[in-house]
Amino acid sequence: MKTIQTKRKVLLFTFSLMFTFCASADEKYDQLVNEVEALKKQLEQVQSVLEQYKQESITKAEVQELNQKIDDSVITKERVDDLEGEVAKSGEWNSPNTLIHMAGYANVGYSSDSESYSVGSFSPIFHYQYRDKVMLESELEITIDEDGSTDIALEYLTIDYFLNDYVTVVAGKFLSPIGQFRQNIHPSWINKLASAPPGYGHDGAAPLSDVGFQLRGGFDFDETSANYAFYVSNGPRLIAAQEHDDEFELEGVEAEGFSSDNDGKKTFGGRLGFLPFKGFELGLSFATGKATVTDVELEDDVHALKSLAFGTPGDEEGEEIDLHDEIARDYDVFGVDFAYQNNGFEVRGEYLKSKVGSADEGITASEGATWESWYTQSSYLIPNTRWEPVIRYSDFTSATESRSQQQWALGINYLFTNSFIGKATYEFNDGAFDTNADEDRWLLQLAYGF
């Protein structure tokens, strides 16, 4: 009996032990299964990545080809040295003895009197400078006519020799130094209105340009300074108009820089500028010389100007008029100008009077004539904005009554940049009835100085 109990105990122990082992084996199996599943997933991911890599990667041959290309294009140290040497040589253009620079300005716009868009002008300015000794300056004026053809004019061409700190010799065709508007204010990116004051354009009171020599320069004192420009030139020519009764009268002064002096009489003139205190400049101008009638306009067809310099124009009957013996008349100009700036506020003005004497001999003998014009203008750049309102009043008295004009001009400018300006100008014009001088108009303009 004891033996049977002992066997039962042994069996019970054995089963217990086996059960324990079986339970332990099941846990390990589950663990192994999980590990295998995880490894399987990892293997699939690796295979996927490898497949992707295989698809995206380049072949060995391609790698070699790429390496070859890289080697071919790589800049070696020697090549870098060569390039640096070449750069050093090419850098010499930055410090040559001669500098070349193109500046200038252009403007486009719209005018309500012609109801047309227009190209005002393209005016490139060329500068060639030899060290600080001499400079060649030249400005072209390129415009488009109503018929679409292009006109090119030589606005000025001068050689400027910087003699010393106080004197510059200017030779060639230059803008008239009489007054301020023509020589410094007329470029469209500088002029604050879209038009010139009446009398400061062609055949007005102010001379435009001349051909000859100038001495220009300035002097500085303690808190003040002065500048000057004196010139001798060929001077202007005159236009006469033939009346019905075969009498003549002076029609206009052509002062646009002639390269020959038909009467051999030189014109002398200049301007003195004083800057007594900061922001203010006062200028006095004068010119004196002789001028001769070289052109005649026929009263019946004033728009068909005969080009008659030294020529023989036809009179009303078609007979030729010989202008060779016309005498040189007195020609005198007087002007005064001022300008004052303080921060964004500016006021400036100018008065000019051109006077031509009478002639009692010659075909075109007539009384003398006077052209007179003045304007004053004020503008204000509104602080912290780019808007600039402008107002100008002008009064031009011409020897030809139909060209006389009084004008109020109001403008508003927008400064896109300091040299790119949009302008809107309205002119209230008062002139001879039923002429252009009496017609009010809108002017819109984009002006760019470069």
Binding site: N67, L99, H127, Q129, G217
Partner: protein, 203 residues
């Protein structure tokens, strides 16, 4: 991988070296004429003479060599003396070449050094040409320093950064060049002039 890195170095670094060499070489070639003028006098002459006829142009509108021809052109037109021309040109060219950025550490050490100039001296030599004696602005586009809640109400750090790096006010047609165009100003000079402006002009 190593080859790719090596090639990247060849591709990027060496061209950068060449480009740097080009830039450095270009900058080092400046015309040896005319003689150098006076920066401070040039700033004053620039503000007083250029606005006689036209809007002020930013020094950065033109390259250094283009400024030579332009200023000589203006010498003839405006009746400037040779010396005034050289002064204006010096001001424009130096304003056109802002100083290299200064490292923070050197700024700190520099700020600890005693200044060579007082704030008043810096203002009168460099700032007055554009900002005016009264701080209200001498040329178009320059902000009025006397306005309450104006530019001087900003923090010292902001003002220093604007002066150090240059700044363009909103709607202003021109920008103030870095350090007012005077690269010789030290960090302590800038600190002094900020303090001076605040004491003089801030309402």
């Amino acid at each position: 991988m190593k080859n790719i890195q090596k090639n990247m170095v060849k591709f990027v670094a060496k061209p950068l070296m060449v480009l740097s060499a080009i830039l450095i070489t270009s900058l080092s070639f400046a015309a040896d004429y005319p003689e150098k003028g006076d920066f401070q006098k040039g700033a004053k002459a620039w503000a007083e003479n250029c606005a006689r006829c036209h809007n002020m142009r930013d020094p950065k509108d033109l390259r250094d060599d283009q400024w030579i021809t332009t200023v000589f052109h203006m010498r003839v037109r405006a009746g400037l003396t040779g010396q005034k021309t050289r002064d204006i040109l010096t001001f424009l060219q130096e304003s056109n070449n802002p100083p290299q950025p200064v490292k923070i550490s050197s700024r700190s050490s520099e700020a600890n050094n005693p200044s060579n100039m007082t704030g008043k001296e810096v203002y009168e030599q460099t700032c007055i040409a554009c900002h005016g004696k009264d701080g209200k602005g001498a040329v178009p586009g320059v902000p009025d320093l006397t306005i309450p809640e104006g530019v001087l109400s900003q923090s010292e750090e902001v003002l220093l950064a604007h002066i150090r790096d240059g700044f363009k006010s909103k709607n202003s047609p021109m920008a103030m060049p870095a350090k007012g165009g005077n690269p010789s100003l030290s960090e302590s000079d800038l600190l002094n002039v900020v303090a001076y402006m605040k004491s003089q002009f801030k309402q």
